[in-house]
């Protein structure tokens, strides 16, 4: 059968495919399952988890130990502030990610571009947290816990010159940063890798030279 002969057959409605108004209305009550909608929902969950967990820890360290560990609260407030910027940036990228009423090709380009930015941002932000935290704990240990671990490699003492202690902190930071970077990379690849590959392959086909 030639393709043209299929046209008439194709243009007939699929049998049994009417939808009554109530069913259509009920569809609108359900949540969208698009990747962007899911990512927005996950981002909001992340925001609430951070607000609740950070909020309670900030309060705890302000109140407990007669406020002697309030530096931890201030540090967490600082990280929390950075998280709000991180949240707003991700939300902006998600809002830019799709334009369903645009041409299919331009929507694909937009989605790939924003998704790659989103993944890069996630990776950088997630990894940068490690040196920040280590730097803070180095400062905290020096200021607050000077008297405890005299034998520790992380402290300068007669047996451990300053350069050894510094090297220990640098190695710890580098090791943790490296580990977290690869863990994050594996995780974002698992989350979005197949989707990005699929979008790129459709776009490549659209752009293909003939």
């Amino acid at each position: 059968m030639e393709l043209d002969q299929f046209k008439e057959l194709w243009q007939q409605d699929l049998p049994g495919k009417g939808h009554d108004l109530e069913i259509l209305k009920s569809l609108l009550d359900k949540k969208s399952s698009s990747p962007v909608a899911k990512m927005k929902r996950n981002l909001n969950i992340e925001l609430w988890v951070i607000l609740l967990s950070y909020g309670s820890m900030i309060l705890f360290y302000f109140i407990a130990f007669d406020g002697r560990m309030s530096e931890i609260s201030w540090f967490m407030l600082f990280i929390g502030g950075l998280f709000i910027l991180y949240y707003l940036r991700k939300l902006k990228l998600l809002r830019e990610m799709e334009c369903l009423a645009c041409q299919v090709k331009s929507n694909l380009e937009k989605q790939i571009q924003s998704l790659e930015k989103y993944i890069r941002f996630y990776l950088i932000a997630g990894t940068a947290l490690v040196p920040f935290s280590v730097l803070f704990f180095w400062w905290l240990f020096r200021m607050k816990l000077r008297h405890i671990p005299d034998q520790s490699i992380f402290y300068t003492n007669p047996l451990n010159p300053w350069w050894k202690a510094a090297l220990a902190w640098v190695l710890l930071t580098a090791g943790l940063t490296f580990l977290l970077f690869h863990l994050n990379r594996w995780y974002v690849r698992k989350l979005y890798g197949r989707h990005v590959d699929k979008l790129k392959s459709v776009l490549r086909e659209m752009e293909g030279e003939d």
């Binding site: 059968m1 030639e2 393709l3 299929f6 046209k7 057959l9 194709w10 243009q11 409605d13 699929l14 049998p15 049994g16 495919k17 259509l24 569809l27 609108l28 359900k30 969208s32 399952s33 698009s34 990747p35 799709e98 369903l100 009423a101 645009c102 041409q103 299919v104 090709k105 331009s106 929507n107 694909l108 989605q111 197949r194 989707h195 699929k198 979008l199 459709v202 086909e205 659209m206 293909g208 003939d210």
Partner: protein, 147 residues
């Protein structure tokens, strides 16, 4: 039209229902921004195809071949039109074996859209579309013959 997109891009009934729901939600959300700059059918196709191609991640690209004698339940089963339905089922089977872009082009072709409209929906220039369309038709011809 939405049902046809769902049939072309999904391999089973559950996925079709999910995609139908998703397209319907997206149409509902996008409706206030429709200003009539493009034809309504162009706007509808853009949203449906964008949702189908870049929307759902869960669907897998496995081929599900349906024997021409065994109709998918949703294509109907009255004896009178069984020959037509058989042909339609084998057409859907064949179209589902094409790439995402080819499926979209063939759908638009079968819906009698001009190359100008196809360009407006897909964003691929007409010359390129003509070449790709010839290739897709050839592929489809082989696939429908073999089924």
């Amino acid at each position: 039209m939405i049902h046809k997109v769902c049939h072309v891009y999904c391999h089973n009934e559950n996925d079709r229902e999910d995609l139908f729901q998703e397209i319907f939600i997206q149409l509902w959300k996008a409706w206030p921004s429709f200003r009539g700059e493009a034809k309504f059918s162009t706007w509808l196709y853009r949203i449906a195809l964008n949702t189908a191609i870049s929307g759902l991640r869960r669907r897998k690209n496995q081929f599900l071949y349906v024997e021409p004698g065994r109709m998918p339940e949703n294509i109907g089963d009255d004896a009178e039109g069984s020959d037509k339905e058989e042909k339609l089922a084998s057409l859907y089977n064949a179209v589902r074996q094409l790439s995402d872009l080819e499926r979209a082009m063939i759908m638009l072709y079968l819906d009698d859209k001009s190359y100008e409209e196809m360009e407006d929906i897909l964003g691929v220039n007409q010359n390129s579309l003509r070449v790709k369309m010839n290739r897709a038709k050839e592929k489809l011809k082989k696939l429908t013959k073999s089924s």
